[in-house]
């Protein structure tokens, strides 16, 4: 254990901080769920890429800087400290990217990673289906082999970024006779392929969000398969491990929220209940604990470890922390909590954040599924018989 940064790391932090101070948009961008906000966020990805910040851990050949995970964490800390926008390409850089790095061929890496790092190709995920949510092994979308192509048919849903993104990835049943986890293949595809229809889903706050994707004999070349045919479940689980584990939610985001919450508390201390005060203290405590844990996971990976079922602990923790922090803010706002914009015209981003936080315990594998994974894989409890 050595909890000091090297001079090089400190210099790197200063470099990130200076760049962000010069480039982060002064005004918040519109929501990336709408066309206009999406375009703003894509432009921001390209601005980041201009500074060579697309994905700092990747090799320079792929548009990165070849940095290690500690430096990635420093980058993320300064990114969130600067109040920089959400990453519209997170499905690409944080989920698919590491998977390609892990199981992709040299050709696939060269083809997919650089445009991802440059923000030229924005990625959607396409995991769920109407009857395969928590039970993802119930997938029925088909990928029938036809020579050097797969022909995709079926329906995906809850595709984040699905409305506007360029490409997507998901699991398809490449063996028609297979059941459950077997016979699935991990396939990436161009969202503008003939035969694809996308329909944005209107979210509870009235804006479009994720999308449904319908496949009608969509042809995608076999070289767009990641990993072996029929090995898609394992490839996806590795992706899910990254998603829930290290990268999907880096700690800086929660530390920034805790910091803002402390400020909000100070401004409203006179009418806050005791439990609200302590919830503010707990927000900082939990965000810090999450950061420490992330540094520990990063150090483990750097020492040759892999993220396993521990990522489920992470998913439970950050999603419930995020919801709790925003709930506390709503209590502090009191009568103003319900306003989408305050009287001074400022957006009530605590309210938006609270609504968004409600998706945390649901998406990327519901917390009920995560608790099953923790219990069965980490604690060794038996799978259910009749229960």
């Amino acid at each position: 254990m050595k909890l000091q940064y090297t001079p090089e790391q400190q210099a790197f932090r200063a470099e990130v901080r200076a760049w962000m101070a010069a480039h982060v948009p002064k005004e918040p961008l519109l929501t990336l769920e709408g066309r206009q906000g999406y375009d703003q966020h894509v432009a921001w990805e390209r601005e980041l890429a201009g500074g060579n910040w697309g994905m700092v851990t990747w090799d320079e050949a792929y548009g990165g800087r070849g940095l290690n995970l500690i430096e990635w964490l420093i980058f993320e800390e300064e990114y969130w400290a600067a109040g920089a926008p959400l990453r519209v390409n997170q499905n690409g850089i944080f989920l698919l990217g590491p998977t390609i790095m892990d199981v992709g061929t040299a050709k696939q890496k060269a083809r997919f990673l650089p445009p991802m790092a440059r923000g030229e190709t924005i990625w959607a995920q396409a995991w769920s289906e109407p009857n395969a949510g928590s039970d993802m092994a119930a997938i029925t979308c088909r990928a029938d082999r036809d020579g050097d192509h797969y022909v995709l048919n079926g329906q995906k849903t809850w595709s984040s970024r699905g409305a506007f993104a360029d490409w997507a990835f998901g699991l398809f049943r490449s063996d028609r006779d297979s059941k459950r986890h077997k016979g699935l293949s991990f396939i990436v595809f161009d969202l503008n392929s003939p035969g694809i229809t996308r329909r944005p889903i209107r979210q509870l706050h009235g804006n479009p969000g994720f999308a449904e994707i319908f496949f009608d004999n969509v042809r995608t070349p076999v070289e767009n398969r990641l990993g072996g045919e029929g090995d898609g479940w394992n490839v996806a689980m590795a992706t899910a491990g990254f998603e829930r584990g290290l990268m999907l939610r880096s700690p800086g985001r929660f530390q920034a929220a805790a910091q803002r919450l402390i400020e909000l508390y100070r401004a409203n201390a006179s009418h806050a209940a005791p439990s609200t005060r302590e919830a503010v203290v707990r927000a900082w405590s939990a965000a810090q604990a999450y950061a420490y844990n992330t540094y520990a996971v990063a150090a483990d990976i750097m020492a040759g470890g892999r993220i396993g079922a521990e990522s489920s602990l992470n998913k439970i923790f950050w999603s419930e922390l995020d919801r709790a922090m925003h709930r506390t803010a709503m209590h502090l706002l009191g009568a103003g909590a319900e306003l989408r914009r305050f009287a001074d015209g400022a957006v009530n981003d605590w309210l938006e954040g609270y609504v968004f936080s409600l998706s945390g315990p649901i998406y990327a594998g519901s917390n009920e599924i995560q608790r099953n994974i923790v219990a069965e894989r980490l604690l060794g409890l038996p799978r259910a018989g009749a229960g």
Partner: protein
């Protein structure tokens, strides 16, 4: 000492529930949200049912009922997420104006012509007043900055908080029912998700929360009606437990619905948004918690087994 609704009170609840079920289905909430105002037939129905003059004194042509009856109707309004500011006008403004002898506005409320927006320092914005429009997360709350009347009178706050608490109970009940209905039909892993203990126990916790919120609200209504000196304490107690019940049921209900609960297509969000809004209305959660705290820890309210009804 009878902690039980009278036959008349039960009949009132049942008939209002039947009326709302028939005339105010979720579709009317959806329609009011998209059109920006409630259908005229809904308002007309409220007038015809006598709900707008429920708490107007008999001397002014009203039904002259009490706060408990008002709270029972507010709960029913919550159950259907009523797309009309009945609560603010008929259940809060009317009895307060009457109690202050300001009877001029009562006819307009009775006839459904006025929302008589009243503001209080703990409830700064009003439904349907003048001035600037504010944008609430609840598409059915047409908030504005300029009230018709503003008073920081304690009784006004207490009536507002009581009725809001009752509406929150109704909202929570409805959200729990929606979540249970979904859990019975949504299949995953070859069975309805409601058969999983993880789902069952979360929903059971909501039922516990509600079971012990309802009687607190009725008790507050009686205390306010009877002029019990500790009524403000009981009203705050009601607002806190009702807010907690609605808030935790909302979080559970959306979790049970999964991604479906995050869509506009499923009705749940209207009830959630109303709950979030009402948590802050007529004294927010922390305001009422602090009022209980001050009475119990700082104050000299008698506590203990001999003082169930103080």
């Amino acid at each position: 000492m009878t902690y039980r609704l009278s036959d008349d009170q039960r009949l009132l609840s049942e008939s209002v529930r039947a009326f709302f079920t028939g005339t105010h289905p979720p579709q009317s909430v959806r329609q009011a949200a998209s059109e920006g105002h409630v259908a005229a037939t809904v308002r007309q129905g409220l007038v015809e049912m006598g709900l707008t003059r429920l708490l107007v004194p008999e001397a002014h042509g009203g039904l002259g009922l009490g706060f408990l009856e008002g709270a029972l109707v507010a709960r029913e309004a919550g159950r259907v997420c009523l797309a009309d500011p009945l609560l603010e006008a008929a259940l809060v403004a009317a009895p307060w104006l009457a109690s202050r002898g300001q009877t001029d506005a009562l006819d307009a409320i009775s006839e459904g012509r006025s929302q008589a927006p009243l503001a209080h320092e703990a409830n700064p914005w009003v439904l349907g007043g003048g001035g600037d429009r504010l944008d609430s997360i609840d598409p059915l709350r047409r908030l504005t900055t300029a009230p018709q009347v503003r008073s920081d009178d304690a009784l006004l706050l207490n009536i507002g908080a009581l009725m809001t608490a009752a509406e929150l109970v109704g909202l929570a009940e409805a959200m729990l029912e929606q979540a249970c209905a979904y859990a019975k039909v949504r299949q995953q892993f070859g069975q309805p998700i409601g058969a999983f203990q993880a789902i069952k126990h979360q929903l059971a916790n909501c039922a516990v929360c509600l079971e012990f919120a309802r009687p607190v609200v009725w008790r507050a209504a009686c205390a306010l009606q009877d002029g019990t000196p500790t009524a403000p304490l009981h009203v705050s107690h009601a607002k806190v437990v009702a807010t907690d019940a609605a808030w935790s049921t909302a979080e559970t209900a959306i979790q049970v619905h999964g991604a479906m609960g995050y869509t506009y297509e499923v009705d749940l969000h209207f009830w959630m948004k109303r709950s979030w809004a009402l948590a802050g209305a007529w004294g927010h959660r922390d305001f009422h918690l602090n009022r209980i705290d001050a009475a119990l820890i700082g104050g000299d309210v008698p506590v203990g087994p001999s003082f169930t009804f103080i």
